[in-house]
């Protein structure tokens, strides 16, 4: 079993990207901007989107041949950590997930067609995974693709599709009559694709129900590689990416709470003096750092280890990030006291993002369920840890 390299495959240029992202987002996406965009009908700032596209962030982990920077998943992990801190409202994650699916399943020409546009931000894309059953892993795909003259007819419902109303491309798995799952890339708008906005808990993350009501697509819309395997690979990269973003957001929540515990005085002391306040903040910090270990570990595993290790590492990352981000916002609101309970306190933005993030791409119990199957039934540790 190929393991994670002891240096995570980390390189100096990854750190330059992180520093650049921290500086740029500090200027371009302060909390005032997040608050403004939370009330904006579009939900993101097209000027900021263009700038992010110009910086090449969408292509950080995509191959250079398709407009990417080829820096790998560790660089992306560091970047998403920074984006999570700032709660950047943008279709970044949606486009990223779609690019993972195309990268994993597309033919040369399909990749050449879509990836450069996604990488530059000129085409917003999204990956539609969840179905009304609540399932999102390859085995729960119920939407169908039936062959027809010159292509396929797509039918079925996808829910919780991020940024579907802003997207020019939706990537989604469908089941063919043979039972095999295939991934399709469908340009939007498209006749027979009905998009209906959902009202979500987190106004910095927009989603929609997408109905395929006999949508006709050409044969070239079907990604070439077998869909289930490609989807699994996209999933693994998606778990790791979302986990990295969550770690950054949890850390920012921690920082708000830490500062409040220093500034706020009661009984003649900053409240952080009291262990009933101090210790939960420490528990959040410990959790954030361990979750960051996993986010980095998952990124390194995706780039360097074998698929089994990459799967366990990315599920661990998403499980731990889900629990830790939840803890961070729970303690964040509680320790801010009455102020934390109001809309004026920034913590609620993180609280809502935490609810959205843990519910997306599998919560901690979901991933622990899958991990237990690897650990107990498949006995993956038997092949030898380092």
């Amino acid at each position: 079993m190929r393991q994670i390299p002891i240096d995570f495959g980390f390189r100096e240029e990854h750190d330059l990207l992180r520093k650049e992202a921290r500086r740029f987002l500090g200027e371009r996406c302060p909390m005032s901007e997040v608050r403004r965009l939370a009330d904006d009908p579009l939900g993101h700032d097209p000027t900021l989107w263009k700038e992010i596209g110009g910086l090449g962030w969408l292509g950080v982990a995509l191959p250079e041949a398709y407009g990417g920077a080829g820096l790998g998943s560790v660089a992306l992990c560091l970047l998403l950590d920074e984006m999570g801190r700032r709660l950047v409202p943008s279709p970044f994650l949606a486009s990223l997930l779609a690019s993972f699916a195309i990268d994993a399943g597309g033919s040369e020409s399909q990749k050449a067609l879509w990836l450069p546009e996604i990488a530059s931000g000129t085409r917003i894309a999204t990956l539609a995974l969840t179905e009304p059953s609540g399932g999102f892993e390859p085995d729960s795909v119920r939407a169908t693709a039936s062959p027809c003259e010159g292509g396929f007819v797509l039918r079925g419902q996808k829910t919780h599709v991020q940024d579907a109303r802003n997207a020019g491309l939706v990537v989604a798995p469908f089941r063919e009559p043979s039972g095999q799952v295939s991934i399709f890339a469908i340009e939007l708008p498209s006749p027979g694709v009905v998009i209906e906005a959902e009202v979500g808990v987190d106004p910095t993350r927009r989603s929609a129900r997408v109905a395929f009501e006999g949508t006709r697509v050409g044969a070239s819309a079907r990604l070439e590689a077998p869909g289930a395997a490609a989807l699994e690979h996209a999933h693994v990269r998606g778990f790791a990416a979302l986990a990295a973003e969550m770690v950054g957001a949890a850390d920012a929540t921690l920082e708000l709470t830490r500062q409040y515990a220093i500034d706020r005085k009661q009984f003649g002391h900053p409240i952080g003096f009291f262990q009933a306040v101090k210790h939960p903040i420490v528990d959040v910090m410990v959790g954030v750092e361990l979750a960051r270990n996993h986010a980095l570990g998952a990124a390194a595993a995706i780039d360097h280890a074998d698929p089994c290790k990459a799967e366990s590492a990315s599920r661990m990352a998403k499980a731990m990030a889900s629990d830790v981000f939840s803890l961070a916002v729970r303690k964040g609101v509680q320790l801010h006291g009455g102020y934390g309970f109001t809309i004026d306190c920034d913590v609620h933005h993180y609280f809502k993002r935490a609810l959205w993030s843990r519910a997306t791409l599998g919560d901690a119990p979901h991933h622990r369920h899958r991990l237990a199957a690897m650990l107990v039934d498949r006995d993956v540790l038997a092949s030898g840890a380092p």
């Binding site: 495959g9 830490r258 515990a261 910090m285 270990n293 980095l296 360097h304 622990r368 540790l381 038997a382």
Partner: protein
């Protein structure tokens, strides 16, 4: 994606790991047929002690201890700092622990930082060979978490030597020890911190009484030491007079695994813990099959696997400054807290999965794994309490890493 690397480790590390792994397989001692202690906290009988001391000597003679220590003091001056590889392989092989833990991991590294050349020459090599065992005299009946309030007195004599009077507790291995790292008050009129000094105290002088303390498992190996005007030479002082608190903090960093420099020992997180718990789950009969089929236990095992892997990743990440730049020492300082609490949950889970059999105790022939799990669960509190309780460590993390106001 960047192309996969050929290997996860540099070649010279991987080769050394293979060599050590093969040596462990060939030389790991067989089960002696009597109860072995689970850790250095419960070395009771002479035969247990002899068995463990012989094992450490064997590892030392093979050249696998003191790798990172300078050659002039009995170490091997290894430029590649490969001691941690040995530690990982000792754990992986399920080998007995190295009995001179306090010497190897706490006293030795502290002497390397503060010792005179003469002290280093005299003390370090016999630590590695287990010829001279070390114990620690820090805690007192009235000074536990508030360690700096220690009252044991080291009174300077006209000839420059000292006499020690006082009472130290939780002195693991004191009954086998030749030396003690001792925190004692040299100036009762100075401040709480400034009045302390740090000594390398010879245990074989008159006026020293070692009395066993029995742990909740019923095992000994744990002691209290009473000093009644016990003499110690001038050169027992480590560092300067009044510098004791600073030296003790260095020792505590090593004790908590927060600093590298150990002469040898076992790695904490290795993937072994969860593997063993899965094995317990498979054997543990429950109402509807084994614990391995129970969704609640499966969830808890997966959680422990996540925690164990997080610790393993910590050990990797803490070596990369750019990946820890925002909180430079957090991973090191939280290591003992995270490991001890994880390990406590792990042993507790194993006991619970075993159901009624988890309530069987040492001496009961039908007890699974010779009652190792309830024993390990009880012993795990040695780790969450010793070397700074989890509560004290949370204070330290809150204050030093997060800059929260000091509780004291």
């Amino acid at each position: 994606m960047t192309p996969p690397k050929e290997d996860v480790e540099p070649r010279e590390i991987a080769e050394f790991r293979r060599e050590v792994r093969a040596w462990m397989e060939a030389h790991k001692p067989p089960d002696p047929g009597f109860k072995l202690p689970q850790s250095f906290l419960e070395v009771e009988s002479e035969r247990q002690f002899d068995f463990l001391r012989n094992w450490q000597r064997k590892v030392y003679e093979a050249g696998y201890l003191g790798l990172d220590w300078p050659a002039e003091y009995g170490g091997r001056g290894d430029a590649l700092k490969r001691q941690r590889v040995v530690s990982q392989e000792l754990t992986r092989a399920g080998a007995p622990f190295l009995v001179n833990v306090i010497g190897l991991q706490w006293a030795g590294p502290t002497i390397l930082v503060y010792g005179t050349d003469a002290q280093k020459k005299r003390m370090l090599q016999p630590i590695l060979s287990a010829e001279e065992i070390w114990c620690q005299g820090f805690s007192e009946p009235g000074s536990g978490s508030d360690l700096a309030s220690a009252q044991a007195r080291a009174e300077k004599q006209p000839d420059g030597s000292y006499r020690v009077t006082g009472h130290k507790v939780w002195t693991t291995l004191a009954h086998h020890a030749k030396w003690m790292i001792l925190l004692a008050r040299t100036d009762p009129n100075a401040g709480k911190y400034e009045g302390l000094s740090f000594f390398l105290f010879p245990m074989d002088v008159p006026g020293v009484t070692v009395q066993p303390l029995i742990k909740m498992t019923g095992e000994g190996g744990f002691n209290q030491v009473i000093f009644d005007s016990a003499p110690m030479p001038a050169d027992a002082l480590l560092g300067k007079e009044g510098q004791g608190w600073q030296v003790a903090l260095t020792t505590l960093l090593y004790e908590r695994g927060a600093a590298e420099g150990s002469g040898g020992g076992q790695a904490s997180a290795s993937g072994e813990g969860i593997r063993r718990v899965v094995s317990v789950a498979r054997r543990a009969a429950r109402e509807n099959g084994s614990a391995a089929a129970d969704p609640v236990f499966r969830d808890r095992m997966a959680q422990l696997w996540i925690e164990e892997e997080a610790l393993r990743l910590s050990a990797m990440r803490m070596r990369i400054p750019a990946l820890t730049a925002d909180r430079p020492h957090a991973l090191q300082l939280m290591n003992k807290l995270v490991f001890s609490e994880y390990y406590q949950r792990l042993t507790d889970l194993a006991c619970e999965m075993l159901g009624p059999d988890g309530a069987l105790w040492l001496g009961e022939p039908s007890a699974p794994d010779r009652a190792e799990w309830p024993r390990a669960y009880m012993n795990s509190f040695g780790m969450t309490i010793g070397g700074g309780t989890s509560e004290i460590l949370r204070n330290i993390l809150g204050e030093r890493v997060l800059g929260l106001p000091k509780t004291r």
